[in-house]
Amino acid sequence: MTFPDVAPCGRRTALKAIAGGVATLSLFEASMLLPAYAADAKDWPADAFKQKSEADALKLLYGKSAEPSDKVDLDAPEIAENGAVVPIAVTSTLPNVTGIALLVLENPYTLAAAYKIPQGTQPAVASRLKMAKTTKVVAVIESDGKLFTASKDVKVTVGGCGG
């Protein structure tokens, strides 16, 4: 009864420290053993992601300009209540698709995401984007080395780029 709390408390702290140590160690090991398949930040096209215009972003990303096509299908909501999470899906019936890009024209930087589509992967992707305000969204498909686009206006009620 003289020291009811101190010992267990100390033991708990020690246990926590050990647990923390183990977690750190396993993280460390994981990074040491990181296999060759790891995503590489070198692949990230930093300049393309800093452009404010659609044409500049596409030129830096693909080195060419795009033309509209009815074979690109962009699925976006007409009204997005929450600009922080807007579901966007792109599919295409074009042949030999190698890339898909999504641009949100009224955002500080227009390019939101770019996807590489190797042979054998379907030309379709669904993800969620942030939109600062009501904006035109452009989906770009790279097919047979050419760029095709579809666009849609999304009305944003509450912006998703903070205030």
């Binding site: 977690a23 396993s26 993280l27 994981a30 990074s31 990181l34 296999p35 398949y37 790891a38 995503a39 590489d40 930040a41 692949d43 990230w44 096209p45 992601f49 922080a84 999470v85 807007v86 899906a89 949100v104 955002n107 500080p108 930087y109 390019l111 939101a112 995401a113 770019a114 996807y115 590489k116 589509i117 190797p118 054998g120 992967t121 379907q122 379709a124 992707v125 669904a126 993800s127 969620r128 984007l129 942030k130 939109m131 600062a132 998703g160 780029c161 903070g162 205030g163």
Partner: protein, 103 residues
């Protein structure tokens, strides 16, 4: 430690559908915190999916991708029980990876 990656890959007749959810703040660099200070950009840059030694999907993400990003795509050539390797790296150099079994 729990992985930041949750992935569900289901083999169908022709294609395998992959859905993934990654825990990440995806700070855009334009949002201010409670003290009016800008929260610096912190977002995933590259996500890679690999099956059988071959990259089947690469996502390049800017800060406009939503928090805790969701992704869905499909690819051919995989069967139930195969491994799907997922990895990401962010603009601060943090990364995570996971090997999922295709269902």
């Amino acid at each position: 430690m729990a992985s930041t990656i949750r992935v569900r890959a289901v083999a169908g007749a022709e294609t395998t559908e992959v859905q993934s959810l990654i825990q990440h703040p995806m700070d855009s660099g334009f949002v201010k915190d409670a003290n009016g200070q800008l929260i610096p950009p912190h977002h995933i840059e590259v996500v890679q999916f690999e099956h059988d030694g071959k990259t089947v999907f690469t996502a390049l993400w800017g800060p406009a991708v939503s928090k805790d990003p969701y992704l869905k795509f499909s690819f051919k050539g995989a069967k139930k029980g195969d491994e799907l390797k997922v990895s990401w790296v962010d603009n601060k150099g943090a990364s995570d990876s996971l090997i999922a079994k295709i269902q």
